[in-house]
Amino acid sequence: MSGDTPIVEMRGITKSFGAVQALQGVDLSLAHAEVLGLVGDNAAGKSTLMKVLSGAYHPDAGEILIEGQEIHMGGPEDARRLGIEMVYQDFALADNLDVASNIFLGREIVRLNLGLLKVMNKGRMEEEARRSMDELKVDLASVRFRVERLSGGQRQAVAIGRATAFDAKVLIMDEPTAALSVAAIGQVLDLIRELSRQGTSVIMISHRLEDILEVANRVIVLRHGRKVADRPIKGQSLAEFRENVVACMVGAVDDFGPRH
C-alpha cells in the first residue's frame, strides 16, 4: 500500500455539454478502502463526474491522478485497466447476450490470439462467471441465461459481478439501491462493507441518505456542478445528517463558495 497517497485524486474537473456546464472545477480525493458517498440534486453533476472517472467522458479541463500518477484516459477500457469499475444506474447490460458474456464483455478470456481475431475461451468465462455469481450469492440457475430473461435484482447482480470479478481497486456505484427491495438493499450495503474491508475503495452515488450514513466514511455534496461540501461522517443521527446534507444540496450552506 502506498501510505497516505490517495488512490484517486481528481483536480479541477470541468465538463460542458454544449451550453450546459455540468461540472465547474470539481476536486475529489478518495483514500484506500474508503467508502465515499456522493450526493446532490438531480443534474448536480454526480453521474457526469463519475463517468469522467470511469473513462466514459473526457473532461474539458482538470487532471486525474491514480495513486499519485497523473493519467489520461482514452476510454472506459483504460479506466478498467487501472482497476476503476463502474456499475451504471441502468446496469449497462446487453440484453441479447447471456450472463457470462455480459460479465466478460470487453475483456473476454482469450484462448488464441490471431491478431485481429481473438478466439474466446468460453468454458473458462462461464466457470468464472458462475463463481462470481456464487460469491454474490445470486440465485441464478445458469450463467447461460440471456440477461433479458432476468429479474431486476438479478440484472443488478450481473452488473455488480461484472465490476467486482476483476479485483477492482475503485468501485463506482450509481444509485445501487434505488430500485431494490429492503432485503436486497441490505445485501448491497453488506457487499460494499465487505469490499471496503478487502481494500477496495467505493464511491456510491445515492439519493438514499440512510444508506450513505450506514456505509460511507465521508460524503461529498455537489450542487450545480460544484462541490459544496466534503465532510467525514461520524456519529450523527440520520436526522442530523439529513439536515446537514440537504442544507448543502439546496444551497443554504456552501463550504467552498465565495465568502459573503
Binding site: 466514459a56 446487453a94 440484453d95 441479447n96 447476450l97 481473438k118
Partner: protein
Amino acid sequence: MANADPLDSSTVMSRLWQRLRMGVGFRELNVFVAFIALCAFFWWRNPGVFTKAANLAIIMRFIATFGILAIGEVLVIITGGIDLSVGSMTALTGVLVASLMLKGAFGLESLGLIPSILIVLAFAATVGLWHGFFVTKVRVPAFIITLGTWLMAAGAAAYITRGYPIVFDSGHPFLVLGQGKFHSIPIMFFVLVIVAVVVFFILSQTTLGRHIYAVGGNLESARVSGVHVDRVRLFCYAASGVMAGLTGILLASRLGQGTPVVGSAYELWAIAATVIGGTSLFGGEGTVLGAVLGAAIMGVMQNGMVLMNVSSYLQTFVLGVVLVIAVTYDTFRRRRGR
C-alpha cells in the same frame, strides 16, 4: 459444482431443453425443418427432375449468390444497421472485374486474373469502410448512406460500360469460378461454404463476433464496457462490401460478362433471406446459419415453382407471402418466449 450427475438423462434433457428455450439454434431448427419440408414437397411434385444433378446445381448457385450476400447483410443487421448497396455493388464489381481483366483501367494494361479479383475485393471493402465511416463518425443513418451508394454504384456501372456488357471469350479461365463444378457441385457453392464457415467462426468463437452482437444489443453498454464500437461497425460494413464484391465477381464469371443490369433488387432478396432465417432488423439477433438457410428456402421455392410451371409473377408473390409468414411467426414466438 453442485449439479446432479451430468450424464443423468433427465439432466441432459433439461439442459438441451434449456438451450432450446434460450434460442440457441432453436430458430435455425425451425427454418431447417421448413427447408426440409419444402425440399420433400418439391421432390414429390417433380419426381426425377428436382434431384437431378443439373437441377441441384442450379439451386446451389442460387443459394450461393444470395447466401453470400445475406451473410454480409446479417453482419451489418446484427449491429442494428442495414446495407442497401449490395445489389448495385454486385453489378459494379462485376463490371469492374471484367473491365480490369479485359480492357485495363486507370491507364493500366489489362491485368491478370488474381490481381483483378484482389483489386475489386479491396475496392468493395473500401466502399464498405466508407459506409462505416458515415455511420460511425458522420452519424448518417445506414439506410441513407448505403442508398446513396446503391444509386452511385448503379450509375457508375452503367457509365463504365455505356450500358454494354463486357464479354469474356468462352474458355477464359476466369469463367471456372462461376461455371465450373467439382464432383457436380458448383465452385460457387464451395465459395459460399468457405465464407459461411469463416464468418460462423468469427461470430460464434471470437471476441469480435461477441462484440458485434453486443453493439447490436446495446451500443452504449458495449461502449462503456470498453468495446471499440466504431471499429466493430466498420468491420461489418467492410465485410458486407466484400461479400457484395465477391458475389459480383462470381456472377460476372457465371454470366461470362460484366454487365450493369445484374443485381437488381438483390439487396432486398438478401435482406429477405436473413429475415426468413430469423434475423431481427432491430439488431442483436441473427446467425450465419439462418441467413444461409433463408437463402436456401428462397432458392428451393423459386426452383420448385419453376419446375411446376408456376408463373414467374406468381413466384415473386409467393416468396413475399413466405417472408410475411416467417416474420409473423417469429414475432409471435418471440413474444411468447418472454
